[in-house]
Symmetry: C2
Subunit: 144 residues, 2 copies
């Protein structure tokens, strides 16, 4: 079965924010409770972080931190959540998610039990900040 991250990098499920020769950064569009949700997707089909060379791993983690810093600086979230799971799609990708104390699942992981309804006003405010975050990530990757 073809890997969907190898074959469908363009999808309505996300917006491609930036790329380097080795990876893409996308903003997730199909998790409405979590607008400030990005992924760093390694271009070649490897499953695990330890499959990368040291230099490639450094590039991947530098990029994860670039996204994290953009989220922290623009949103001052309660917490950043980082995860490389890949149980459903074993092609290396990092989730980088800004979490807030009153979001729908906090303090549970986004994959855990919902704690409350999302605050629609808060989601709308978050939405307004996303273009600046996208731009900052793109600028940082272009300069790296």
């Amino acid at each position: 079965m073809a890997c969907e991250l190898c074959t469908h990098l363009e999808t309505p499920a996300w917006s491609v924010v930036a790329a380097t020769p080795r990876l893409h950064v996308v903003r997730v569009l199909d998790a409405p409770d979590f607008p400030a949700f990005y992924r760093v997707i390694w271009n070649t089909h490897v499953a695990e972080l330890s499959d990368l060379s040291d230099a490639d791993r450094a590039h991947a983690m530098d990029t994860v931190v670039t996204v994290e810093r953009a989220l922290r600086d623009q949103l001052s979230p309660t917490k950043i959540n980082l995860a490389a799971l890949g149980n459903l799609v074993p092609h290396l990708h990092w989730h980088v998610i800004a979490r807030f104390a009153r979001d729908s699942h906090f303090p549970q992981p986004i994959w855990g039990t919902r704690q409350r309804d999302s605050d629609l006003d808060a989601l709308a405010r978050l939405g307004l900040a996303l273009p600046a975050i996208d731009e900052r990530i793109a600028a940082a990757l272009a300069a790296s």
Copy 2:
């Protein structure tokens, strides 16, 4: 409120496997469905990966990969799951978890919905492999 990772590194919830001057590696003992579950805990109280210097971040991620490689080599898991969440305890720590296609939650994250009962024989076999994994991690950190 005191941070529990600052004050209670010795706890029945895990076994300390190895340490460097900057971090500890522990094996989690209170997640019975997931025996091959380790954490890399940064010693000083920082919340986010991006709070570390480049050198410290490299040390943290090198250690995460050391644990990942020990799990892969000894267990050939279906997938490794990595996560730095910290919503409940905002003190930087990485979860490094060996996942198997028939474990209790696969392909869901361990924080997601249970999919089936754990296979007790499989858990028992996993348990037998853990001392060798602990030793390998300790040896790798001692040599680094």
